[in-house]
Structures are given as C-alpha cells and as structure tokens.
Symmetry: C2
Subunit: 350 residues, 2 copies
DNA sequence: TTGAATTCCGTGCACGGTAACGGAAATTAT
DNA sequence: ATAATTTCCGTTACCGTGCACGGAATTCAA
C-alpha cells in the first residue's frame, strides 16, 4: 500500500523557498551557500526526514566504482583459491549497482611482487581495497598511501595492529586453537599429540598459526597437563620428504593417535596417513580446501575447522561497496567469523 | 580503468534505426511491435550485449516493491524469533534498493489465524512472499492463489511437495538426523539413548522432526544395532510435568547417558538435566535459541546443530527482491543450508 | 559613485529508462 | 475509392539528482 510518500530534493527546495541547486550544494556541502540558507535547508531536511534517492544519485553521477582485491595468487586447491571464489559471489551482487571488482594477485613468497602489484592496483584508482596482510612493512606503507588518498580498505584473514581500516573479517585465531584441541581430544584422555608444521616461510611476517597454536597449547595445558606434544616439520613442496618424516616419526611413536595441523595444509599429510590407516586415530585440520574435504569424506581426517574465506572477502567487498556508494559505515570494525566444524556428516552442503 | 562502455537503450535504437520507445516495448515484450522490428532489436541486443541500467529503470518506474514474510508468531526465545531476526538484516540491504518488507505473523496452533493473516497479506499486494509451511491444506490454497496472481514465493524451514515456488531454503532434514546421531555417540559405543519428544501438535501437518528422527534411527541401526532407544513425551507448556516425566524416567534408567531432542526445544529439558548433572552425559539438540546456547555455555548441552534460520529468511528475501527488481531467477530452486555444529567453544561468534 | 570582484543562487541539461499519447502506415470494412 | 480500424512506431514528459554555467546581489576597491 501507498508507502510513505517519498520526499525529494524539490520538496525541501519549495519548503525553504530556495532552488534545488542550492539544496544540492548543502547536501554535499560544497560551499557557495550563505549561512542562513544552509541552516534553513538543514532544518527542512530534519523536519521532512529527507533521504536521498540512491537510484537517481547513482544514475546522475554515472556510477562506476571500482573495488580492488589484493590477495596472494591462488595456486590450485590453496586457501587463497577459496578466498578468490568469494570475489565472484560478491561481483554478482554488486555489478548490478554499478561496482566493478578487480582481482590483483601477488606471489606470497616474494615481496617485490607484492610491491609491483600494489603499485598497479593504485594506478587502477579503486574506490576501495580488500587486503590480506602478508608482509608487515609493505602492508603498512600501502595502507598509509591509501589513507592519504582517502581510499578505504578492509582486512581479511588476519590484521595488523593499525587502526585506519574500515573493517576486518576473520576468524578468532586464539579461540580456534582452543576449539581445535577440544575437537581433537573429544573429551577423552589423551597422552600424546603430534603437531605437523610447515617449515617457516621466511618472508611471511603475519602468521595466523602462531595464535592458533597458542590457544591449542593452553587448552591442552589446562585439560591434559600430562600430555606429551611432539612437533614434526615438513616441506610443503616435497611430498617424499613429508612421507619420510612422518614415517620416521610414527615408527618410533606408534602409540600417537592424535594428529593436528594449524594451517590449511593437512592434506599434505593425507597420503601417508591414508596409507597407514588406524581406526583409532583422530586428525584435525583447518580450512575447507577440496583436498581436505576429500580426506574428510574418506575418513582420513576426522574434523576440519572452517572459516569461510569466501564469505570474508564477500563481506569485505559488500562493506566497501556500501561505503563507496552510500557512504554507509559498517556497524563495527572487527567481524569475527563463526568457526565451522566440519565432519563427514555435514561436509556435503558446505 | 575505463570500464566497458555501458551501452544504452539509445545505442540499440540507433543501431536498428528505430526509436527507444520501440526498443523499450520489445524489452518488456508488451506488444505493438512488428515481427521484423522485434527480431532486429533482439539481434542488436545480443550483438551489443545490452544490459539494462537498474537505477534508471527503478527511478523511472518509481521503485517500491513490497515483500511479505508470513511465519508463525515469535514468542520470546522461540525458533521463529530467530527467523524473524533475519528480516531486519535483509531489510537493511533491500530498502536501499526500494524494497519494503512486511512481517505477518500468525498463531501456529490456529488455522483460522493463518487464514486471516494470509488474507491480509494478499491485500497488501506484495511482489513476493516468504512462507514457512505449517498447515498443508491452507498452504496449498494460498500458493495457488499466489500463482494465479503471478506473485512469486519462497519456502523456508521445510517445503511441501509442490513445485511452483521460486526457491526453498532449509536444512537437509534426514541428513541432520544422521549428523545428530554421530555427534551424540561421538564414535563411542552406546547402549541406550533417550529421545525426548513433544506431544504432537494436532494441527501442525508439516513436521521437520519426522525426517530428522528417521535419519537418526537409521544411523543408530547401522552403527549400533544393539542400542536401546527410549522415548519420553513432554508437554511444552507444563514445566512441572516435564520435570516429573524426566525424573521418573531417569529413576528407572539411571544408566542412560545419551539424550537427544529433534526440535528446537532442548531447553525445556535443561532445568531437570542441570539439577541432576552427570559429567558422562551427552546431550544434543537443535537450533541456536538463546536458551539453548546458554545451556551449551554452562555445559548442560554438549552440541547444538544449527541451521541459521535468519540466513534462510534473509536469502529468501534477497532472492525475491532480485526477482522482483531484475527478474533474475535463482541458479537453482532448492538450497540446503549447511548444518552448523555448535559447542561451547565456537558458540560465541555465532 | 562607478567598476570590479565576490558571494550566492537559480536554470537547465544530462543520466538511462518508462509509458502515455497521438499520428502515420497498413489493413479491413463499406 | 473512401472511411474506419488496426498495427506499429516516434515523440515527449517525466523519475530524482548532480553539476556546469551564468546571472543577480552584495561587497570591496578606486
């Protein structure tokens, strides 16, 4: 039924005896208006409860915003591939409101590539940027540049200790370690746990697994202070070495039945684990990579903890789009995503 | 960078040597166009890849769509309160594109109230309707009416066996019973299980718990064929009777440590369970009602399985809005939501 | 007091599409 | 052949804002 009659810029022009041009000037406070007129207009806006018509506005100024997404290149089946998939989802909904999205990728092991791509990104003149902070120093200088240019930006996955960002979307890392420990032990007494770790990437300076491991260890300390915790390091690019490392470990520790990994690469351990099955074993990993989910289905992995990276970039893009188009600020800056528990029984509809 | 030059209705008018009026007529195929012109325009549209400008369109036809949500009244802390909260979320994003949402509530125990409210809803002349089917017959006649009037509608929560709906958003019910059983047993041998049930609502003809229970029982049959399964019925409006029923049951079956409930009301059992704690007990329920989540936090309930009812109505509304505004059909009709596993360790950020 | 410089404001076109209106062309009826 | 319809199409006035342009009113300089 007849919704509240929309009041337009003309209504408040008539009300104040001024012209729409003047009203428009105060709305976008771009000067050339006398104090008296300014006050009158503001008052009328209040009283009539004027709200601009987004369509007309966008139509008039020819829309076309651009949002840039700057994340590591997504090798097949990697974590960042999942994140990248959120771009398409967001694109589908924001292109209809005149927003384009450009995806910039860099090599997460190469600072120079980050610098270069960041430069290109700036040249594209975006109205907003989605960032995954990998290199601390570089991220800092980039965000400074963005701030100077007045370009809003959002962090996903993790965030530095700065404060100028528009919003952050990510998983509560420390808590995720806790949850992980709880899922691994399943309330049963546990005597020993194996943590599989990737040899530290030299360049990566912002590493989510640090906090996660801290949470995990705290949980274990509190609940199973006697539990022995072993670490095995593997090289992500060398399957044979991985196989050998695990093989060596389990030969000397055949009693260890709880295995965990704090990054998205539990699938690297799957070939060995699958070849040496143990119905009593419990394996917990992170992130819903295809390879990980397959391992869930075939029973090699017991539980995955997911954080919906695609939702993270989707939300970041939506937030930037709303800000760019309507100037709307998000209700809060930090958005901690729900941690999804995935088992073979609920992985299908994920 | 210079985005693809938007091609307008005028471009294709020039291209075909016709006027924009004619082009508009074929775009909305409202007749009064010769076959030859029609074909020419269609071809030009294809070739140039024309896409209408939503803003201009909405501006011209004065926007203002209305979407109606027809779900049971949300008594405090009920399942439907969660669903209703999705309305606000959706409202925030669609009002900016000129869509209003009206919320109609009926008494889920009173068919007449459904009829009355449905009538009122139709009078409001919505461009789309979100429905939770409760009364089979009534739902059927309502959807027929909607179909006749050409009003699209979406189901949430559950759906009847019809086919005219635009989309459905809900949990895979049978599977959720499976998941529930897996979470309840946690891979351990289980000898006996208690199912707490609500005495059948006489009127409710579409009951999600039926399928859920079927899935649960199948899982138990397959994995623990020896397990005894008991049922206790309670009256949702009589806490004392509930207390008594559980008390009686557990006095004669003190060994039963696995308790499950297939609707959203596990919180009804919480007072008893909390008063008679058992660290060995495992309790699984459904839906993230506040009372249920509290029980999760204090340890009375072990696991809740969530289906994001708010997301369901949110998505349903978004889908209807896109259809109403842009005529865009959803990629598929049936959308099965992910089943969230909630424990005390990941309930906070839900 | 007159001319120049400011300050302030109204006018009018553009944005891309919608739909009513009316008229030309083609068809049918008389 | 002419009138009466039908069919088909172009014209035009919006929808609500943004913004450039130019002019009136006011202030300042000479």
């Amino acid at each position: 039924m007849a919704a509240t009659e929309k009041i337009t810029i003309m209504d408040i022009a008539r009300r104040t005896g001024l012209s729409k041009g003047t009203v428009d000037r105060v709305l976008h406070n771009r000067g050339e208006v006398s104090k008296k007129s300014y006050a009158k207009v503001m008052e009328a806006i209040q009283e009539l409860g004027y709200e601009p018509n987004v369509f007309a506005s966008l139509l008039a100024k020819g829309g076309k915003h651009l949002i840039a997404v700057l994340i590591p290149a997504h090798e097949n089946g990697s974590f960042w591939e999942l994140a990248a998939s959120g771009i398409d989802k967001a694109a589908a909904s924001v292109t209809t409101v005149g927003v384009d999205i450009v995806h910039f990728e860099y090599d997460q092991y190469d600072i120079d590539s980050f610098r270069k791509v960041a430069g290109k990104m700036l040249e594209a003149g975006p109205s907003g940027v989605v960032l995954a902070p990998m290199f601390q120093g570089e991220t800092e200088s980039l965000t400074e540049e963005l701030q100077q240019r007045g370009i809003p930006y959002c962090f996903i996955d993790s965030k530095p200790d700065t404060n100028g960002y528009l919003a952050y979307f990510g998983m509560p890392l420390y808590k995720s370690g806790y949850l992980c420990a709880d899922q691994l032990t399943g309330g049963r007494d546990v005597l020993s746990v194996l943590i599989i770790r990737v040899r530290r990437d030299r360049f990566r300076q912002s590493d989510p697994t640090v906090n996660r491991r801290a949470g995990f260890l705290d949980y274990m300390m509190e609940n199973y202070p006697e539990c022995r915790i072993d670490n095995v390091f593997i090289d992500p690019n060398d399957p044979e070495e991985t196989e050998a490392a695990l093989s060596t470990y389990f030969q000397t520790h055949p009693d260890v039945r709880h295995v965990v990994m704090f990054n998205s690469r539990i699938h690297l351990a799957v070939p060995y684990l699958q070849a040496h099955p143990d119905p009593q074993r419990r394996v917990v990993g992170f992130d819903n990579l295809k390879a990980n989910m397959d391992a869930l289905r075939n029973g090699t992995v017991s539980v995955l903890i997911g954080q919906r990276p695609d939702e993270q970039v989707n939300l970041a893009i939506q937030t930037l789009a709303e800000y760019a188009i309507l100037g709307k600020l998000p209700p809060r800056k930090d958005h901690f995503m729900h941690m999804d528990i995935l088992t073979s029984y609920n992985v299908e509809d994920y």
